[in-house]
Structure formats: structure tokens, C-alpha cells
């Protein structure tokens, strides 16, 4: 049973990171205002949200299954307050930090209609901090971080997010941007 929880705890961490990566990519695409092949714009927005919520669910399993694990030695405070961990406090603390950021991002996203676009957007920008923090946590804390498959996985995620970020910062990222800033000039 202990072995099963340990495997589940590690596996859900990896799945969660994969889903968060997909959600970041979809979020950037969503901001550009473009559809994804046959997927219309409003579907991109909904899939972005649902993948993020799924990632959050996997993250919850990741936390619960590793709680009380004899190696991770998690206490309840480690779920909320970073860098107090008994084992690998720095790398664990990055995970805790990512959880805190994720909670803020998810709650404000779900309450977007109540809190308004400004607050939502300000908090949602924290995703650009949360994602690399989560990735570093997986590399520094992950039992499988040295495995070839994990290195390939982490590299694929990083390249994908960095490419999307490059596109995000490029001219003409937003649909109609080139038309709006005027070909007349």
C-alpha cells in the first residue's frame, strides 16, 4: 500500500505538470484570440479552463498521496508555507510555492465574473511564475528527475512553453493586430 501511494504520488506530480503545460499553451493561444484548427475560440477558452482544473485535481492527489509518506515527511504546514520541509526544504518549498500560486490563480479565475477583469488578469499573470517554479520543483525534488524519460519530458515541456512565450512576445501575436496598428502608416 505504501509503495502504491508512493508511485501514485510521483505519477500524479508528472501528470499534473504535463496538464499544466498544456493549459499554459492553451492559455497563450487563447490570449492570441485564434482558434485551434477545428476548435473555435470559445472552445479553446473552455478547454484551457478544464485542463487547468484537471491539473489541479491531479495536484490534489499528488499532495494527499505524499502526505505522511515516510520519505517525503510532509506536514500539513508544508502544504501552505514554503521552505519549512524536513526533507529537501528548498525543492519542496518550490512545490509549496507553486501550490499557493496555483490556488490564487484558480480561485480568481473561477471568480472572474465577481472580481472583474483587472484583478483576474493581475493574478493570472502569476502563472508565468508558477509554471517554472513547478518545473524546478519536479526537477529538484522528483525521484525520477535523472531518468532519460523525465529529462525528455521536462525538455519537451520547456521548449513548448518557451516557444509559446516567444510567440506571445512577437509582433502580430494577437489576431487582427497587424490590421489594427495600421497598414496605412
Amino acid at each position: 500500500m505504501n509503495e502504491a501511494l508512493w508511485a501514485l504520488g510521483r505519477g500524479t506530480g508528472v501528470v499534473s505538470l504535463a496538464l499544466f503545460t498544456v493549459s499554459v499553451l492553451l492559455g497563450i493561444l487563447n490570449r492570441s484570440g485564434r482558434p485551434l484548427f477545428a476548435l473555435p475560440r470559445f472552445s479553446v477558452a473552455l478547454v484551457h479552463r478544464n485542463v487547468a482544473l484537471l491539473a489541479t485535481a491531479f495536484l490534489a492527489i499528488h499532495l494527499v498521496t505524499l502526505f505522511g509518506d515516510s520519505y517525503a515527511q510532509l506536514r500539513l504546514v508544508d502544504f501552505v508555507v514554503p521552505f519549512l520541509g524536513a526533507a529537501k526544504p528548498f525543492w519542496l518549498g518550490l512545490g509549496t510555492l507553486a501550490v499557493d500560486l496555483m490556488l490564487a490563480i484558480v480561485v480568481t479565475a473561477l471568480l472572474r465574473g465577481v472580481i472583474g477583469v483587472r484583478v483576474f488578469k493581475a493574478v493570472h499573470w502569476l502563472t508565468y511564475l508558477m509554471w517554472p517554479v513547478a518545473l524546478l520543483h519536479s526537477i529538484g525534488n522528483g525521484t525520477d528527475a535523472g531518468q532519460a524519460w523525465f529529462i525528455a519530458f521536462a525538455a519537451t515541456c520547456s521548449i513548448a512553453v518557451l516557444s509559446a512565450l516567444g510567440w506571445r512576445l512577437s509582433r502580430g501575436f494577437v489576431e487582427y493586430q497587424n490590421v489594427r496598428i495600421g497598414k496605412a502608416s
Binding site: G33, P40, F42, G116, V179
Partner: protein, 83 residues
């Protein structure tokens, strides 16, 4: 026997308006996908209601779709107004 006075508004006279706040609208195009019968896209990507400007009458059958458009608008530029 129906004692209620007949509603002067016919089915062709919708009671709900979709209001577009142009100070918030960024022309992301989600509403034009959800409500293609009500909104087109102009050449800069902004919604274009066929002859109604900022307050677009919503027929009953499109009320659910209009509600979705309001909640999915990335800029919260849409509201439904009861007439």
C-alpha cells in the same frame, strides 16, 4: 379561460438586449462565434450587429447562447439587459 391580458409584444419582438460595452470590447471574436446569427465581425475583428449598434435584440431561442457569450467574453464587455 385565459384572464391574463395578451402580451403586446410578439415573439418577433425580443425582450432581452445584448449590450456591447465598446470601452471594454477588444474584438476577440468569441461572441461572434457563439452568436453568428446576431453578430458578424468587422474588418478589425470587432463584433458587428446587423443594424443595431450597441444593443442587440436577442430572440428567445438564442437566449442560452447569449448567456454563454456574456460569461465567456474575455473582456466582460457583454451584458444582458431586460427591456
Amino acid at each position: 379561460m385565459n384572464l391574463r391580458a395578451p402580451d403586446p409584444r410578439s415573439a418577433a419582438d425580443p425582450t432581452v438586449l445584448l449590450h456591447i460595452d465598446w470601452t471594454k470590447c477588444d474584438g476577440r471574436g468569441l461572441c461572434t462565434e457563439i452568436l453568428p446569427e446576431l453578430l458578424a465581425r468587422d474588418e478589425w475583428g470587432y463584433p458587428l450587429s446587423y443594424g443595431y449598434g450597441s444593443n442587440v435584440p436577442v430572440p428567445d431561442r438564442l437566449l442560452d447562447a447569449a448567456t454563454d457569450a456574456v460569461s465567456l467574453c474575455p473582456r466582460q464587455a457583454l451584458t444582458l439587459i431586460d427591456r
